[in-house]
């Protein structure tokens, strides 16, 4: 089971609302390379990991991604919260506001609702870990595109933290892939 911890992994205190930025950052909440997809991917793939290292790492990174999901949701909430209806309209965040008001909804920045089609769980640990390596790189890219569009340090700092975590996860998945390959080789799996 899971236990909730009533705190963010990294502090977020955004003082100036920015509804347009909220509707871009939302992509890391419910978009194709977002944190919900990441968590769901790893927590679904872990069942067929053949070695304890794999069961542990996918459980733990899948859990950390849920903390990132909460961080991204918090950024969206705080960026929308203080904005007036007029500011929302002028900023171009009107389409999001029409469907979700100031609420937080898992969608991509382009407006596609979250779908499990963003992830795979192939029943093959080598295939799954290769997908995970790509997923971490794609999430890193998304944070870099978001950082190019951000100008508020209150927004930039948490985005930089999240970007760095993608890099660390990529490293850990790479090490795990080598271990799983050695294991499969030693068992003459096929």
């Amino acid at each position: 089971m899971w236990i909730y911890e009533k705190k963010l992994q990294f502090p977020i205190r955004i003082k100036n609302p920015n509804p347009k930025m909220a509707t871009l950052i939302i992509s890391q909440y419910g978009g194709p390379d977002g944190e919900l997809a990441a968590s769901l991917r790893y927590l679904s793939q872990r069942y067929i990991m053949p070695i304890p290292e794999g069961k542990g790492l996918l459980t733990d990174i899948g859990t950390e991604e849920l903390a990132h999901f909460e961080m991204v949701g918090t950024m969206v909430y705080q960026l929308m919260k203080g904005a007036s209806d007029e500011e929302i309209k002028a900023s171009g965040a009107g389409p999001y506001f029409t469907d979700h008001g100031r609420g937080v909804y898992p969608t991509s920045a382009a407006g596609n609702p979250f779908t499990a089609a963003y992830i795979q769980s192939k029943g093959d640990p080598i295939a799954d870990l290769n997908e995970d390596l790509a997923a971490e790189q794609k999430a890193r890219s998304t944070y870099e595109w978001l950082l190019r569009m951000a100008d508020d340090p209150d927004v930039i700092e948490p985005l930089k933290f999240l970007r760095q975590r993608e890099v660390v996860h990529y490293q850990r998945f790479g090490e795990l892939l080598m271990k799983v390959q050695d294991y499969v080789e030693s068992k003459k799996y096929f």
Binding site: I3, K6, K7, F10, P11, E70, H169, L176
Partner: protein, 85 residues
Amino acid sequence: MTVNDRARLLDEIRILEFMAVELNLYLDNNPNDHKAIRDYNSFTKQLMAVKDEYQRRYGPLSNFGTALSQSPWAWLNDPWPWELD
């Protein structure tokens, strides 16, 4: 003043927990690194102590039987993590 104390304790918790998360992920791939396990246990002990102090003063950090509650039910104490504090 109380708000600052609370924020300071939360930052201490975040720093120690970050060390624990990093070592945890590393140890998942390196379960025989005894020095890293000693570090993990040391950060975990410090983290448990700071969490205890926080929870005695500001209410539970986690639910479902993992921390004692003051009366009234302190799980509901504001602020929640997404609220500015």
